[in-house]
């Protein structure tokens, strides 16, 4: 074990020896779980939304696929968009590498590869979710008139897993790599959910601010579990307020800024740093976080929210790649 003092702190962090392959697997296990949970929530919320639509408005399932960034794949696989198809595609489709089904399979695959690094409790919970999604698949949940129970179970299963992970795993490098995976995925999903409004059509330009518009914004907040906290902080639902909350809020745990703050912190815990950067991963994440930290929602709206979010997603991918190059790439560590 290598001990490193954190400057200005009396806590001594213990850096466990951790295989690069293992760090990579913990990172991805957490990303996939976060992804599955987010997908389950998107689907649940959109299902709810579809029940409350005014009579002249048709259900919208395409924006959901657009949110995930997998529209192209969907379009090649299917020639029809409806509730059943989209639920199947996002939740159960084995051809969709990001479906809940595949995310959970891959999360468990990663967990198996690092079985000695996680606790029995975490492992048992992963198996629970694994059999849950397999059962959902064999029961053809997407054909049910109301599959929301299934989504709730997945959501709760993933949340419980994150809770067990936090409550039973020592705060060694492994835990921090897991956190970084989870937070990067979460930031990505929040940015994508916000972007969905760009794809949701309003019947007429005058409909901005209408009850239907608000219904959509409310659904959007609920998609990232932000409705209650937003109400508490801001009260009134406005596009600019909601966007600011999801991008720049410093205390809401799913805002893009907050995710990056914590991810950066975990990165520092691993490297022993506290300011600036000592490797490309710290540099990339630091710059992206600062960009949000000093961001101004009016400027963002002025230059275009959709473009801003697009740019964010590209940069977040670069962060992820930099983490891989710095810590997981076997070729690099050998040097």
């Amino acid at each position: 074990m290598v001990e490193a003092k954190i400057p200005g702190s009396w806590i001594t962090e213990i850096h466990e020896i951790m295989l690069s392959r293992v760090a990579d697997s913990i990172y991805w296990m957490n990303r996939y779980l976060e992804r599955a949970e987010n997908y389950a929530r998107f689907l649940d919320v959109n299902f709810n939304l579809s029940l409350e639509l005014p009579p002249n408005i048709s259900e919208e399932w395409k924006p959901l696929v657009l949110t995930t960034g997998d529209w192209k794949m969907y379009d090649t696989l299917y020639d029809k968009i409806d509730k059943e198809y989209v639920i199947y595609f996002l939740a159960f489709d084995q051809n969709n590498p990001n479906s809940i089904y595949n995310s959970i399979i891959k999360a468990r695959e990663n967990a198996r590869a690092i079985r000695p690094e996680i606790t029995k409790e975490v492992w048992e919970q992963i198996n629970y979710i694994y059999y849950l999604v397999k059962e959902g698949h064999s029961k053809k949940q997407w054909q049910r008139s109301d599959p929301r129970n299934f989504f709730t179970e997945i959501k709760k299963g993933c949340q419980l897993l994150h809770g067990i992970f936090d409550a039973t795993i020592s705060r060694t490098d492994g835990w921090h790599f897991g956190k970084i995976g989870q937070l990067i995925e979460r930031a990505d999903k929040t940015s994508r959910v916000l972007d969905v409004k760009y794809h949701m059509l309003l019947p007429t330009p005058e409909a901005v601010g209408s009850p239907f518009d608000l219904l959509q914004w409310t659904a959007l907040l609920k998609s990232v579990s932000a409705y209650d906290m937003y109400r508490k902080t801001n009260g009134k639902l406005t596009p600019i307020g909601i966007s600011e909350f999801l991008i720049l809020d410093k205390v809401f745990p799913r805002s893009m800024l907050r995710c990056l703050m914590h991810a950066e912190n975990s990165l520092y815990k691993i490297t022993g740093g506290s300011v600036g950067y000592s490797n490309i991963a710290e540099k990339k994440i630091g710059i992206l976080k600062s960009q949000l930290e000093y961001g101004d929602i009016n400027e963002i709206f002025h230059s275009g929210l959709h473009e801003y979010l697009d740019d964010f997603q590209v940069k977040l991918n670069e962060v992820s790649k930099a983490i891989f190059d710095t810590f997981f790439s076997i070729e690099n560590v050998k040097k």
Binding site: M18, L19, S20, P116, E124, I126, N127, D173, V333
Partner: protein, 478 residues
């Protein structure tokens, strides 16, 4: 709901571990059966159901070979335990101790002085033609001259009630995780029975395993790793489980590199040295520079480091020569030669096809013998005479004639049976027994074993890949 009832239980003439021929319960099973009879079917079925669930949630699954991408199965755990009396266990322990000690000296001799060959106890060509003999190991001196650190010997009980050794597994025997996890599950299934029967604990196996590894290490404290072929290996669950229980690092070949004559793990903190490797990768695959060149599972240069004494491998490479099924026939002579003792735990009578007289006998009696390939395991490459067709027998005859050295034959032995839960009844099913022996500073035999059970009615094949399940094995202390 009907209570569990043994009045119609039939031994069908086989040796039954629970009852004698006349249906009288054997003393060491009395308490268990009495408790079981107080239970109703609903409860028993529920206990079995909970056991299946527990195995799934523990992820106690294995991949079947040739079925790479995904179908995971659980090894069915039948909740009725196999109970071994104190007396039987003491005998088994003595026999195993003697056997492992002799086999270890044998391996050391084969790779060094070869006295046993010079003294003409065992034919030279039998050793050098063994596919598990490793010429690369000649001249090797592992720490304390211990080669087979971990072994799992397959033992059966015949109709006559005697135990026989069926196979010595001296390479990478698997199944010990099932011994440990089955116990954890059964403790939850029958808590009150455990309280009243004195079942000897097995939980300290992983402590002993770790202590044994540390005792071999060139330095202290030692850094220990378990080397696995990866998650698609059928025994991956066990590799991960043992690494975790021992607090060792679970590594794949790609996690290791050789530098300056030492072995290192590639970590997020740079390279870290490894001193002892419990390798669950076969000899052929551990080092492509020395063994199979196409292996992707091993570490190039590992064997060289091992020879220099800078890393310990458990088991040592080359131990397979002693569990070759043709060498098996010589074990009574091997024990006598090295220890000057008669063999305590007998072998099953074995015909060596490499020897002319035996070969003729085997070819004439295909229909009543079990014929085995000398270097195969896991129930593969064998023919069970009485259960085979004429066509299968003819095909096998050809194989034997083409390569007699590669085959042995044994009489069909009716394995003993243990009551086993079936759909709606309790019936006898055939079992074997695999205790685990650790050999470091001393020989240590954990009082427990993996009992494998042939779940199919009348089947004698207990292998997990072919319809076998498992039972918890209780060794009693009084």
């Amino acid at each position: 709901m009907a209570k569990i009832d043994f009045t119609t239980y039939d031994t069908n003439g086989f040796y039954d571990e629970m009852v004698e021929m006349d249906g009288k319960v054997r003393p060491h099973y009395a308490l268990f059966r009495e408790r079981l009879q107080k239970m109703d079917w609903k409860k028993l079925n529920f206990l079995q159901y909970s056991t299946d669930r527990a195995q799934l949630s523990l992820g106690m699954t294995f991949n079947v070979y040739g079925d790479n991408q995904g179908i995971e199965r659980i090894l069915h755990l039948d909740i009725i335990p196999r109970i071994i009396s104190k007396q039987d266990w003491e005998y088994l322990e003595k026999g195993l101790r003697q056997r492992i000690e002799a086999l270890n000296i044998f391996i050391n001799d084969i790779y060094n002085d070869q006295k046993i060959i010079r003294d003409k106890i065992i034919p030279e060509e039998l050793i050098f033609s063994s596919s598990t003999f490793r010429g690369q190991c000649i001249g090797l001196n592992p720490p304390q001259n211990i080669w087979c650190h971990i072994s799992g010997t397959d033992i059966i009980r015949g109709d006559d009630g005697s135990f026989y050794v069926l196979e010595d597994n001296l390479r990478c025997p698997s199944g010990v995780s099932y011994m440990l996890e089955n116990r954890e599950i059964l403790k939850r299934t029958f808590p009150e029975i455990f309280e009243n029967l004195h079942v000897r604990p097995v939980y300290n196996y992983s402590h002993h395993l770790r202590d044994m590894m540390e005792s071999l290490a060139p330095v202290s404290p030692a850094s220990i790793a378990v080397l696995t072929p990866g998650i698609y290996n059928s025994a991956y669950f066990e590799h991960a489980y043992l690494a975790q229980q021992m607090g060792a690092e679970l590594v794949e070949g790609r996690d290791l590199v050789i530098k300056d004559d030492f072995v290192f793990m590639i970590t997020t903190n740079g390279l870290q040295r490894v001193d002892v490797i419990y390798r669950r990768v076969d000899d052929d695959f551990i080092d492509p520079n020395v063994f199979r060149g196409d292996s992707m599972l091993g570490v190039p240069g590992l064997f060289e480091v091992y020879k220099k004494g800078n890393v310990v491998l458990a088991n040592a490479p080359g131990t397979g020569v002693a569990d070759d099924k043709a060498v098996y026939a010589y074990i009574p002579r091997i024990i006598k030669y090295y220890l000057g003792e008669e063999m305590i735990l007998p072998n099953v009578q074995t015909y060596i096809c490499a020897e002319k007289n035996d070969l003729d006998f085997v070819l004439d009696h295909m229909h009543e013998l079990v014929i085995k390939q000398t270097d195969a395991s896991g129930g593969y490459g064998m023919l069970i005479g009485p259960k085979s067709t004429k066509k299968e027998q003819e095909d096998f005859k050809e194989k034997i004639k083409n390569n007699p050295r590669n085959y042995i034959a044994q009489p069909t032995i009716n394995l003993s049976r243990v009551p086993t839960l079936t759909e709606n009844s309790i019936e006898g099913r055939h079992v074997d027994l695999r205790p685990y022996v650790l050999y470091g500073k001393e020989i240590n035999i954990i009082p427990g074993a993996l009992t494998r059970v042939a779940l199919k009615k009348d089947s004698l094949v207990v292998n997990s890949s072919q319809g076998g399940g498992s039972k918890d094995t209780w060794v009693l202390d009084n």
